[in-house]
């Protein structure tokens, strides 16, 4: 049986298209589709968008690591945005009181943003470069993958702001 979809989607080189409403971009990237979120306010910063939920075990493990990344790379213009997809906000807030997040949280209970980014697994991390383009996207979190994700982040951090 063919296994559905690659788990790590990498975009080599800038992919620019406009995003209209929540419709998926028609332009098919070299490996997979992705959506540009207009984070013009973050232009010049490297952004890590993390999709998480209270019911997701690996999310619990990823939060301390994300907190560490924030503290370490904040000075290099790096931000993390946590997008919560819980249907029940109370559960998300209970999770956050046990597992603190040193980054802003966005609530996406209907999963509109998750659908727009074609989130392939939980948790999902999306690395956006300083020009606002999605460069790396991965589903799942494990100790083994930390090194790879951090390397990808450092690649983007090394790039100069436009």
């Amino acid at each position: 049986m063919r296994i559905a979809g690659p788990k790590v989607i990498q975009h080599r080189g800038p992919i620019a298209w406009s995003f209209c409403g929540l419709c998926v971009g028609l332009f098919l990237g070299p490996i997979a589709q992705a959506v540009d979120l207009d984070l013009s306010a973050y232009r010049g910063k490297v952004v890590y968008v993390d999709f998480w939920a209270s019911w997701c075990g690996p999310c619990r493990q990823s939060f301390p690591w994300l907190d560490d990344l924030v503290h370490e790379y904040m000075s290099q213009n790096f931000v993390v945005i946590g997008v919560n997809v819980d249907k029940d906000r109370d559960k998300a807030e209970r999770f956050l009181s046990d597992t603190p997040a040193d980054f802003p949280i966005l609530y996406d209970p209907k999963g509109e943003l998750a659908a727009a980014y074609k989130v392939a697994g939980m948790p999902s991390g999306i690395l956006i470069d300083r020009t606002g383009h999605v460069r790396f996207q991965h589903a799942g979190f494990s100790e083994k993958q930390k090194g790879l994700y951090e390397e990808q982040l450092q690649t983007l951090l090394a790039e100069k702001s436009p």
Partner: protein, 459 residues
């Protein structure tokens, strides 16, 4: 630093939230107590239970069990468990009831030839008798002899057994979608030993919505009744000379589990089993009755085929309603002994509050008889190659009604209590019953009560 929403036409809520995030404000989720580390998901789960089982006028059992599951790292889990049970009471002999009293003997103890006999009674009110040893034997058998009163369903009241069993297992994720698992198990009773090993794999597809799994199990059993095994289809005499006997079994299961939608999880599995070896119940007899009066003339030890192939198809569903969960399953079974069965099982987990639930349960079961099942044999007719009067192989249907109460003590622990009632009905007056057998109940209803107290906690 306002976020320009024109390029992202998300819903107003998401847009506003993004704007707030862009303003550099930390949202309400930021905990003040930053010194506390995150709460790690518990690595070890302990599942414990105590079963109290009571068949009306038959067997009673008490069985504690403990299972431990420990996550060694994010990819591997170790699990092990131990259980012990103590069974006492009465089991059917397989003989038919009679208007006259009957005597039943089974081996009780084997002693060297010439040893003085000091014990006179055995468990269940039976008498100890000395069985004349065959010529050349160095040992002799003490047998427990029971008198079965007239017009009562013949039961062996001295049934007593203790069992201890354990298992050890391992599961390893090799990729994000592929896991392997393996395990061994061992079980020992005073006259039976079983050991097995299993191996399985599972592959996820479609974003973990579909899981294909397969497993094989190999089991090797040894039956060593006191005094040896009886020679099948010979007259009951308490003097068993047969060797210890083995049974080998291979089982294979394949299954597909599919997330049908956000609320519905379905599983379809097929299993095939091949058993080869000693399948007889050494303690069970079948009566050979007089063709006119229906009185038992002889009691023969039963005989079952040495080969048995079983197949079953199992369809299980779990559906999550607003707060409650329905579990419904159907299983069809068929083997080459002629047994066909259908099981339907429904549970409704009524989540009465966030911390407690009530779960009523109904199970319906129906089976057809094995080809070689006979209520009794008739003198003068040719003895068949295989014959058993074990009602477990007869045609019957059964219902189970149960209720379970579960209380969550903490986020990771639960206490539960389950009470069940099982009722098995067979045909006690089969067509064509001979003579005195027409007034006897050849298949008394089997009723059993189960109490299961469980406690699960994680740390």
């Amino acid at each position: 630093m306002q976020l320009k929403p024109k390029a992202l036409r998300a819903s107003p809520g998401v847009r506003r939230a993004l704007a707030a995030a862009a303003a550099g404000l930390l949202a309400s989720g930021h905990a003040a107590a930053q010194d506390e580390g995150p709460v790690d998901a518990p690595a070890t789960t302990v599942d414990s239970a105590l079963l109290v089982y009571h068949e009306v006028n038959r067997v009673q059992a008490i069985e504690p069990e403990v299972n431990v599951s420990h996550k060694i790292d994010e990819d591997s889990t170790l699990n092990f468990g131990i259980t012990a049970d103590s069974l006492t009471g009465a089991t059917p002999l397989g003989a038919v009831p009679s208007t006259l009293p009957q005597t039943y003997v089974r081996p009780y103890r084997v002693i060297p030839l010439g040893t003085p006999v000091t014990v006179t009674t055995a468990s269940g009110g039976s008498t100890v008798v000395l069985v004349p040893p065959p010529t050349g034997a160095k040992t002799q058998t003490l047998a427990a002899s029971t008198i079965v009163p007239p017009n009562t369903y013949p039961l062996d009241h001295g049934f007593y057994d203790r069992r201890i069993a354990g298992h050890l297992g391992w599961e390893q994720a090799l990729t994000q979608n592929f896991k392997i698992n393996g395990g061994i198990a061992y079980s020992k009773e005073h006259d039976y030993r079983s050991q097995s090993a299993n191996l399985g794999v599972s592959q996820d597809f479609n974003g973990h919505n579909t899981t294909l799994s397969a497993a094989v199990n190999y089991e090797s059993d040894l039956s060593f009744p006191i005094g040896g095994t009886p020679t099948p289809l010979t007259q009951m005499n308490g003097n068993w000379k047969g060797p210890d006997t083995t049974l080998h079994e291979i089982d294979a299961v394949v299954g597909i589990t599919q997330v049908m939608n956000r609320r519905w999880l379905a599983t379809l599995s097929y299993s095939y089993s091949d058993e080869h070896g000693y399948q007889n119940d050494p303690y069970r007899i079948i009566s050979v009755v007089d063709p006119v009066s229906g009185q038992p003339n002889e009691q023969l030890y039963e005989n079952r085929p040495t080969l048995r192939r079983k197949q079953s198809l199992f369809f299980d569903n779990k559906i999550h309603l607003a707060r409650d969960v329905i579990s419904a399953s159907v299983r069809g079974f068929k083997d080459d002994w002629g047994v066909k069965s259908l099981t339907a099982d429904v549970r409704y987990r009524w989540q009465m509050g966030p911390d407690y639930y009530l779960e009523p349960h109904v199970r319906y079961y129906t089976q057809s008889a094995a080809d070689f099942f006979h209520y009794y044999l008739v003198s003068g007719e040719a003895t068949p190659q295989y014959a058993s009067a074990d009602t477990r192989l007869a045609k019957f249907h059964a219902q189970t009604y149960g209720m379970k109460l579960g209380v969550a003590i903490s986020e990771t622990s639960e206490v539960n209590l389950r009470v069940e009632y099982y009722d098995q009905h067979g045909n006690g007056s089969p067509v064509g019953a001979i003579g005195q057998l027409q007034q006897q109940n050849l298949f008394p209803d089997l009723k059993a009560y189960t109490l299961l107290l469980g406690y699960t906690f994680a740390f």
